[in-house]
Structure formats: structure tokens, C-alpha cells
């Protein structure tokens, strides 16, 4: 197996994180924002696994498991909130949901 530079993997993780960040900043639909958050969590998990692989320790993978569980909990609560918002407001546009901003 050809060796991979640690920096290469970290640059890939940074690129994924930045893509997710840009999407989360620009999108207006809540579902797309949740997708972007998933991408960002995935990128941070990739950075953890790369760091763990560099020092031959399983700790990075343990951290990825925690991120995985956290993402699952977050996405279930988030999608329940999306359903509730859609039933009450009939829209998914974050600019129409201004009740909390008063």
C-alpha cells in the first residue's frame, strides 16, 4: 500500500468542511442546511481518523464513533423539528421563520 501524507488527508478534510460551511451559509431550505451540517461533521470525523492513523492509536476512531452517535441524535431531533415546522408554517424557508427574532 502506498503511504499517504497526513497533510493530504487533512487538506481533503478541510476542503470538505469548507464546502459544508459555504452550503450552510448560503442555503435557505432547512433540509439543505441539515445536509451541509452532515458534510461538516463528516469532515471533522475524517480529520480525527487521519490523526489517529498517523499515530497508530485507536483514539481517533473512538472519537469518530462519538461523532457518529452525536450526528445520529442531532439529525433525528433536527428532522423532527423540520416536520413540526412544516406542519405549523407550511414552509421550510428560514427567512420566513421569524417568530423567535422579536
Amino acid at each position: 500500500m502506498t503511504p499517504i501524507g497526513a497533510n493530504t488527508v487533512l487538506v481533503v478534510a478541510a476542503a470538505l468542511f469548507v464546502l459544508g460551511l459555504a452550503a450552510a451559509l448560503t442555503r435557505k431550505n432547512i433540509i439543505f442546511i441539515l445536509i451541509a451540517v452532515e458534510v461538516m461533521l463528516n469532515a471533522s470525523g475524517l480529520a480525527f481518523v487521519a490523526a489517529g492513523a498517523k499515530w497508530h492509536q485507536p483514539d481517533g476512531q473512538v472519537m469518530f464513533l462519538f461523532i457518529l452517535a452525536m450526528a445520529a441524535a442531532e439529525i433525528s431531533v433536527g428532522l423532527a423539528l423540520v416536520l413540526q415546522i412544516y406542519h405549523q408554517h407550511k414552509t421550510l424557508d428560514v427567512e420566513d421563520l421569524k417568530e423567535l427574532s422579536d
Binding site: 500500500m1 497533510n7 452550503a23 431550505n29 433540509i31 439543505f32 476512531q61 445520529a72
Partner: protein
């Protein structure tokens, strides 16, 4: 690609591709257990949740048209530029360091689970709490609010309705 589509289902399909590619990266980094979990949980469970919600909300062509109307270059240009600046900073920081070749050593699931249930046992219990709270929260939030009407009130309303007719 997952973040530029207008149609939600297309975005989800590209997201699946992204997760599978990430699993391949994990496999080449010597983490087979994590790669398998990535495919099962991310590309399996979370995508199914997303698709389920998209189906329930019946998002289709209308949403795609709304998105394409919202997503003009004027809107996404400045955040994209700022994110690009951030990426440039991170990349220069990473490249400025010495490039060292990683020796890939496969961390087998046995070592992973020994570490998980050895030193990280408190964190495992805490993540159990978090998942439990997530389940309870999702079940509570997702519950339909029922309209509670007393049966006399209901009959009275119906009676008035009939009278009005």
C-alpha cells in the same frame, strides 16, 4: 455536488456518493471498522431518515424551483469567498508543515473496542445518555399536537354549524 443541487433527492443521492467515498478513504487509512460503520449508519440510516422526511413533506419540483430562484450568484458569492479564504488559511497552515509520510497500520476492531470500553467507558455512557435524550426528544417533538375538545363543546359546535346551514 451534494450542496449545489436544487432538487432534494438529487442532493441526497450525491450525499450517498460522498459518504461512500469517505468510507473508501477510511479503508485506505487503515480503519476498516469505521469504514463499515460509515456505510451502515451514514449511508444507511441517516439517508433513510432524510428520504423519509422528504417523502413526508412531499418536496418536489416546487422546492427545486424555489431553490433555483433563491440561489442566485449574488447570494452565494460572498459566503463562498469567505469560506475560500478560510480554506486557503487552513491549506497554507497544513502545507507549511513538514510533509511526512504516514505508515499505514490497520487498527483492527479488537484494539478499537478494547480502547472504547477501557479508557473511554465514561464517554460511552455519556453518548448513551445523548442518544436516549435524542430519541425522547424526537419522539416528543414529532408528536402531532392533538386538539382536545370536550365532547359537549364538540356537539355544541357541530349543532351551531348545522343551524347556520
Amino acid at each position: 455536488m451534494a450542496i449545489t443541487r436544487y432538487h432534494p433527492v438529487h442532493a441526497l443521492l450525491y450525499l450517498v456518493i460522498s459518504f461512500l467515498a469517505m468510507a473508501m478513504i477510511f479503508l485506505s487509512l487503515g480503519a476498516p471498522f469505521v469504514a463499515v460503520l460509515e456505510v451502515i449508519i451514514y449511508a444507511g440510516a441517516i439517508i433513510v431518515l432524510f428520504i423519509f422526511v422528504v417523502m413526508m413533506l412531499n418536496l418536489g419540483k416546487d422546492t427545486a424551483q424555489q431553490e433555483s430562484a433563491w440561489l442566485r450568484p449574488r447570494v452565494w458569492l460572498i459566503p463562498a469567498l469567505l469560506s475560500l479564504v478560510l480554506f486557503g488559511e487552513m491549506a497554507t497552515l497544513l502545507i507549511a508543515g513538514a510533509e511526512d509520510e504516514m505508515q499505514i497500520a490497520v487498527v483492527d476492531p479488537k484494539r478499537l473496542s478494547m480502547s472504547l470500553y477501557g479508557g473511554y467507558i465514561i464517554a460511552v455512557e455519556l453518548i448513551g445518555f445523548l442518544l436516549m435524550a435524542g430519541i425522547v426528544g424526537a419522539a416528543h417533538i414529532g408528536k402531532h399536537p392533538k386538539k382536545h375538545l370536550h365532547r359537549f363543546l364538540e356537539e355544541k359546535e357541530m349543532g351551531e354549524h348545522e343551524i347556520n346551514i
